[in-house]
Amino acid sequence: MSFEEFVARSHAAGALVVQPRMGFGDPTAMRAGLAATRSARAVTVGTLTLDSYTRVRDTASAEHALRNGLPLNGYPIVNHPPEVTRGMLAGLMDADFPVQVRHGSARPADIFRAMIAAGLHATEGGPVSYCLPYSRTPLDEAVRNWAFCTDLLLAAEPEGGRPHVETFGGCMMGQLCPPSELVALSVLEALFFYRRGLRSISVSYAQQTNMEQDQEAVSALRGLCAELLPEATWHVVIYAYMGLFPRTEVGALSLLAGAAELAVTTGSERLIVKTTAEAHRIPTVAENVAALEHAHLAARATIHRATVAADNQVYREAAALVDAVLNCHEDLGRALVIAFKRGLLDVPFCLHPDNAGQARSFLDAEGRLGWSELGSLPLRGVVEQRRQAALTSSTLMSALSHVQSTHDALAFGDHETVAIGGQA
């Protein structure tokens, strides 16, 4: 059974699939992590998160780390021979435990080759979302690379079912991007894969700052995918908050539970968790398992469903963004490049040279994300731009830490407290 079938079956049985972001340099440690994920008391799929050297194609530095016993922040799939990776997965990855490769590379051809050679066919990415937050690679090059790699994956024709790709567009920089642009990017990347022939897709959306706005966003995501991906099998994957994370255990668990609630109330099929170590360091296997189990329980405890208008504000903005991009060029890859050049897509606070950097976001009193500068975004008449005072290091920090401090406050009460986990 493939990745998509496992998720569909679990959803039909009423279970939210939970998944870690986990990667270690050493195959033995990686295997132990996958084994623990598999046997966690939750419905899980496994993850191979790749290290930063592999992401930027610096296999020499990955090699240096492996040889000198320096820790890596992920699994170097290109350095380890395919037999090693197959051996690492043997007896673990099967119909009841699919494994996905998560990387973050704008130049992923070697990663795709290594993945396919090791028998792995579920991955994550996108021409925009694996370029702007992950590299200084020109966007048009990333688009070409991702077109090439999608073709590679399709040509692999795995035995265990169709290859699967998840968009990372619903996350981008992790924080302070208004939900409508995340939804638009997630949909556009899904459509990019779809037009190249991929039929097994998941669309991501990362938890932001306000539950209702997030629920509107997932509804918008579903609406747009239903319109644009008629012949694909697709599902929604929620990411637990991808910005500055609470520093306390209580705060981190509360935020994670909120992500599980968002997933269940919006009928989402899968959730990628974060751990209590997030604000401090790479989590241990045990911390990952604890996060999976906590999310599972929080999901089971959520019984209500969200009711949001289909034509909500997030939908209207996202639809306008998607339309504007589709009108740029009939080839969607070209269209994305043109759209960024014209500022029709513009990700707040993204320093990538191909991002216009004119659009800006802000947090309103209810914790909703809005636009303080529209730049050239095609949203005039769809949303009001609400200018804010000039940005300083401390106003930036307070916007970045809004979610962190809201949840840490649950642990702090009114007392001066000590952060946990950082001194490990």
């Binding site: 820790p71 320093l351 930036l396 970045l400």
Partner: protein, 171 residues
């Protein structure tokens, strides 16, 4: 944001303009090759700007060659390196060895900060190795901005570093 219009390699007259403009000189803020995190850079750009410096922000995944080239051509009063992806120790050692191996950059103030290891703060021994390899200061994630501000405040004013021969061999 505060990218200089002309580069600091030009003649003394330009440099005088720079000082008259009230700047404390140029600081380069950058990542290193493997690290694509940029919120740290956005934050540091604002912070260093607020301390009175002109800031050049090199963005994500700056290759070693680019760092060397930018430092040689701009002659910053300080290079601020940030790493949060857990590879800061390995990347920092490689980069500082390269920069210190370049004669004109031997005395350029270079600092490193962030989340430097995958297991939380670096050990004292690791921090010591980074300092020995040539960093002027290493700031751990938990430290807050106070000690960095003090370090920056103690930098010689740009006038103090002005008499530098054009070919830069005086450093």
């Amino acid at each position: 944001m505060t990218e200089r219009l002309h580069d600091l390699h030009s003649d003394r007259a330009d440099r005088a303009d720079e000082v008259l403009a009230g700047g404390r000189g140029t600081v380069i803020v950058s990542s290193m090759a493997s690290d694509s995190h940029t919120w740290n850079l956005v934050y540091l750009e604002l912070l260093v700007g607020e301390l009175g410096f002109d800031v050049v922000n090199l963005g994500a995944c700056a290759p070693d060659e680019l760092l060397e080239y930018e430092c040689l051509s701009r002659r910053p009063v300080m290079l601020v390196l940030s790493s949060v992806n857990g590879h800061g120790y390995q990347d920092g050692l490689r980069v500082i060895q390269r920069l210190r191996g370049c004669r004109p950059l031997r005395r350029m103030p270079v600092v490193l900060g962030g989340k430097l290891g995958t297991g939380g703060a670096l050990t004292q021994e690791q921090t010591g190795q980074l300092l020995l390899a040539g960093f002027d200061a290493v700031f751990d994630d938990q430290q807050g901005s106070g000690s960095f501000r003090r370090f920056a405040a103690a930098l010689p004013s740009p006038a103090g570093v002005l008499p530098m021969p054009a070919e830069g061999a005086g450093a």
